[in-house]
Symmetry: C2
Subunit: 331 residues, 2 copies
Amino acid sequence: MPQLRKDPILKQWVIVSPERGKRPGDFQNMNAMPPDDPEKCPFCEGHEKLTPPETMAFRKSGTSPNEPGWWVRIIPDRDPILIPSGNSGRVGIGMFDAMNSIGIHEVLVEVPNHDQTLQSVSPNQVREVVWAFKQRLLEIKKNPRFKHFMIVKNSGRGVSSYSHSHSHIVATPIIPKRIEEELDGAREYFHYHDRCIFCDIVRQEQANPVRVIYQDAFFIAFCPFASRFPFEMMVTPILHQPFFEAIDSDHVTGFAAVLQSLLKRMEKLLTNIPYNFILHTSPISETCRDFFHWHLEIIPKLTQVAGFEWGSGFYINPLPPEDAAKYLRES
Amino acid sequence: MPQLRKDPILKQWVIVSPERGKRPGDFQNMNAMPPDDPEKCPFCEGHEKLTPPETMAFRKSGTSPNEPGWWVRIIPDRDPILIPSGNSGRVGIGMFDAMNSIGIHEVLVEVPNHDQTLQSVSPNQVREVVWAFKQRLLEIKKNPRFKHFMIVKNSGRGVSSYSHSHSHIVATPIIPKRIEEELDGAREYFHYHDRCIFCDIVRQEQANPVRVIYQDAFFIAFCPFASRFPFEMMVTPILHQPFFEAIDSDHVTGFAAVLQSLLKRMEKLLTNIPYNFILHTSPISETCRDFFHWHLEIIPKLTQVAGFEWGSGFYINPLPPEDAAKYLRES
């Protein structure tokens, strides 16, 4: 079973998930992907038997679970980094802290066909994906054991093991370090200013829109002032909204449209670029609702993250976000 | 000029260093390395005129600066991310903070010949490299404008632009986030326990040496309990020592021997593996001397860091550090 271990200095949790029977040299080929064979793809419609039983699906009336007929399908990950059942097993190992890797790790298959992408499908299909994110988060959040929830997409060869368009839904018993840092920063700002820092950033970007890619009445997309990566993007609601999963029906449509538009712009500038997106929603605690504001980060995978960044937390970005925003606006 | 920008939420500084005249597509080829042509290598002995003038070198008596005859040579980086002169230019841009990217960014050429590596050279040459790290840090630390100092090595194709063995010496006007986090964690532990957390980790690893790769009277090398990456290694002095640059002559020899031994073990297990190492020494402030303890991290570049890690700070390591240490001990 995977184990959660805490770095005592950095207070960072790491999932140690042993891949049994591997020899050292095998780790060098970890990025070697299996051939992209749609015949063997477990995510294609018609191959439902190749995955664990689905936990949720949007499917045509009259079709049965784990049969064809769906347009969005959620399944437990086959090699989960977190396991839904069992006790938390919190334990001290000498001065170190560990616990069982309890949590949810599911895959959301975004399209039934192997060659479809979030860029190529109809706006309505993207809307259905966003709606599924919302519905599944609402369901998972009922479990009081989990403290944090996120949606992560790794797209592209070398980034994901599967080329079929999908994302991950992850619920964890601890708040991951990066989120804890966002909470700390946002809380501190709120204590000082009595305002949400995300709301202030939105107003700042609107006042001098050099980094804005797109905005409408409800959403704004921009390249952050201190972007770590070229073409890094953030999308967030203009009005304060801590919980993504509280998004209402109209805004699901609007958010899906912004998301697809950004991915299309990125695709036009950077053909076949691998990318990640990650959705940050407020932890379940009600205490964060005044100062946390949900947002989505999109990061094209262009640059290698070298030792400098890993060792120092000091990122070097060769493209000013103002230039990135201009390219993205115009594409 | 590169600019330092602060993320207002995460309080993370990013260097925005525009590469002029680049088109979006150019960023996709950033990892395409120039061909490895020793004839054009600026770091080879005899090619001194291809670099900016040296700031320090260990060279045979009777030879002149920027001529052959050296065995370790330090030069300013040709495309520095930090510039040594000018004012700090601290400025508020609306709610955001920025400053000029003032600092030192130098390259330490570790060997005169193109094909030598820290694994292949004599133990005495590695000792000279470590001695040069110490001497140059002592010199750079005299400048009161800089708050933090680190030594970073990016080795291997896809990790470094140059294959000739070298490392970077970087001095910054701010303390990078990762170091600030180490300081915070170590300070908090010290306040609670009145002991250095690094000293306690050393004692813990010695008491149950499942993660220990090597130790002698002065140094210990181990795979950290919460290793983020397979075969991640840490080397640190067994006795409390905040400042690497205060290392004395005998210990330079010992540290060089441990460093070379670890790199050789890694090379044996993982042929031609790209890797990084980073040396963390205490910031200049005397207030950290009780709780900060210098250390070197070595990270082979095996796994892709995917969106999950970037977005969450939540690392997934497929190799338990106990297994990694066993492989490294036995190789």
